[in-house]
């Protein structure tokens, strides 16, 4: 069995300290048991943050959207920035779970469940921001095409309506993909659990037993879902970028936007996976499953996408100069040296300069260094969207229409609160669902062999 040989080698390569199949169940399912003090502290902090988030939002609903700093000419501010940021975060989850699945990358197994959960919660968070942004949230259903009393339909030629379709499809498909991949692990959790948890897992595992027929169809369905999710993830951020690129605003109206946004999304998303898995590994003692090799692979992906993103920045500046258009040139000069120079330079340093350190193997193999770099990237990528949204709108064609935007306290509270909202769901996830894919990990572990055992016995004798 030649394939088994390569699989054993691969398993030994990625998880040298995991020997038996049921070790995986033991190690992963113990994470679902009684939470420690650290978890409760984080959870309480996130609950407080969610309170702030909802409080600020309710204040804006009560007092009106005037409590935000949004005013002509800058009608899109922190809310749209944060929306694009969270959609971007979501992307690497699908990249790791779908694209790397199709490419059979052996290092994805340990991180993909956490990355996929991150995707679902990040899209959930992102989806709130257009609702917050529109102000009168009770009219949000007008975006949905339904036959109404005015006999009018949404304008399907508008990128904003494309976005509604893209983001809702993305949320639905990634949630389904996530749930489907979890079913066999929920069955594993069911078989070990007792009491109330057992009842819960019995229901959500839907009677999965791991029979040959179930696995056969499951495997095929999973491949097709991955094949559908792969173009989906590329399309979603392209559509988000067209929200900007379809408008004739200097700094937005560029054909580079779709690939530039997709690369930026994967860059920020991989950084977020590192930010989330480093504490996960530490708290739950998962050193045998999340090895330095996994972090090395993620760091390389980060470095690669950072190069694409930085190239996009440079080509944007170059093309603004090369176009010879005064508004375009003026806008990009204003980006670097105008009112928002600090945001632009934060973006350039965090996304272009700091990741240069990832060229060094010693940095890629140091977990604390990666954690710090990933935080820089998260900050840099938020500022990238801020720069794109705000600097362009504040400095369009006519000088009399230029203006300055200052985020209000309410906006900042909602933006910061969204991180706690995301953390709240992620923490719940680490306690309720197996945060590491049990069955996928077993696929890369060496299968137990009777003949090999006889051979080993001789070797030990």
């Amino acid at each position: 069995m030649a394939t088994t040989q390569t699989r054993e080698e691969r398993g030994a390569l990625t998880h040298p300290d995991v020997h038996r199949l049921d070790d995986v169940n033991r190690d992963v399912l113990k994470m679902l048991s009684r939470p420690g003090k650290g978890w409760w502290a984080l959870f309480a902090m996130c609950l407080g943050g969610v309170g702030m988030f909802l409080g600020a939002w309710f204040w804006q609903i009560y007092a009106g959207v005037g409590v935000s700093g949004l005013m002509s000419p800058v009608g899109w501010g922190v809310y749209i920035t944060t929306f694009v940021f969270w959609v971007g975060i979501a992307h690497s989850g699908t990249l790791i779970s779908a694209i790397l699945f199709l490419f059979r990358a052996p290092w994805r197994q340990s991180i993909y469940r956490a990355a996929e959960a991150m995707t679902v919660f990040a899209v959930m968070t992102a989806g709130l921001f257009p609702l917050i942004h529109v102000g009168r949230v009770w009219h949000a259903y007008w975006l949905i095409p339904y036959p109404n009393s005015r006999f009018l339909w949404p304008n399907f030629k508008s990128p904003l309506v494309w976005d509604v379709f893209a983001v809702t499809t993305y949320f639905t498909v990634s949630a389904v993909f996530f749930y489907l991949g979890t079913i066999p692990d929920l069955a594993a959790a069911r078989d070990r659990a007792t009491g109330l948890r057992r009842k819960l897992y019995t229901i959500i595992a839907m009677g999965w037993q791991g029979t040959d027929r179930q696995w056969h169809h499951f495997g095929k369905a999973y491949i097709f879902l991955a094949a559908l999710a792969t173009p989906l993830v590329l399309s979603v951020h392209s559509v988000v970028s067209w929200d900007f690129a379809m408008g004739i605003v200097p700094g937005w109206h560029a054909t580079i936007f779709a690939p530039y946004f997709v690369a930026g999304a994967i860059f920020s998303g991989v950084a977020m996976v590192i930010t989330l898995t480093v504490p996960l590994r530490k708290i739950f003692g998962l050193e045998a499953y999340l090895t330095v090799k996994h972090f090395d692979a993620m760091a390389k992906l980060c470095l690669f996408t950072s190069l694409i993103v930085f190239y996009a920045y440079l080509s944007e500046f170059f093309l603004a100069w090369y176009s010879g258009e005064p508004p375009e040139r003026g806008m990009f000069w204003n980006r670097l040296f105008g009112t928002y120079w600090w945001a632009t330079w934060t973006m350039l340093v965090c996304n272009g300069v700091v990741p240069v350190m990832l060229w060094f193997k010693r940095v890629r193999h140091s977990i604390p260094a990666l954690f710090v770099i990933s935080i820089f990237v998260n900050i840099g990528m938020w500022f990238e969207r801020y720069v794109i949204v705000v600097t362009s709108l504040s400095h369009e064609y006519e000088p009399f229409a230029w203006g300055i935007y200052r985020p209000s306290v309410t906006e900042m509270m909602i933006m910061v609160g969204s991180f706690f909202w995301f953390g709240f769901w992620f923490l719940l996830f680490t306690r309720l669902l197996p945060p590491i894919a049990i069955q996928e990990l077993k696929e890369v572990l060496p299968a137990p062999m009777r003949k090999k055992k006889a051979h080993d016995a001789e070797a030990h004798a």
Partner: protein
Amino acid sequence: MSQGVLASYEFLDSTVDAIEKLRKAGFDGQITAYSPYPEHHIEHALGYGQSPVRVWTLVGGLSGTAAGFGFTIFTSVDWPLVVGGKPIVGIPAYVPIAFEMTVLFGALATVIGLFVLSKIPNVKPSVVYDPEFSAGRYGVFVEAEGSRLQEARRIMEAEEPIEMREGAADA
């Protein structure tokens, strides 16, 4: 309810050998194998072909494309309104919608197809199951009665199972 015998194995190769020998003895279609992860050696031993899930995906995806284009064109014609000097029916602008609908319908049809074909959700799981099958053991269940049951039992026992028991399955 059909009678049968269940064996659990520690090793993959003994499971595969047991399945192959059972098929040679003419137990085709009466065997159910359990494994903690998708094991293609077991699938191979049972002689699986293509999964019909792909038909669900294709039909779902194509109906999504049709629905996406159909709906956008219908609504444009239903209330003709010139926007931005573009044609009433602007096909390029509808491509993103049709694409998203293709993916959405295709994905949902795939999952429904999987549920139908693998018979989940199954509120009343069969009695013949061992919680160890989701941990680290492989299982083989053969549906048989009388002397055939004894024959299956003999074949399965030859491959050194950890445990064997007779039971009834909900068929």
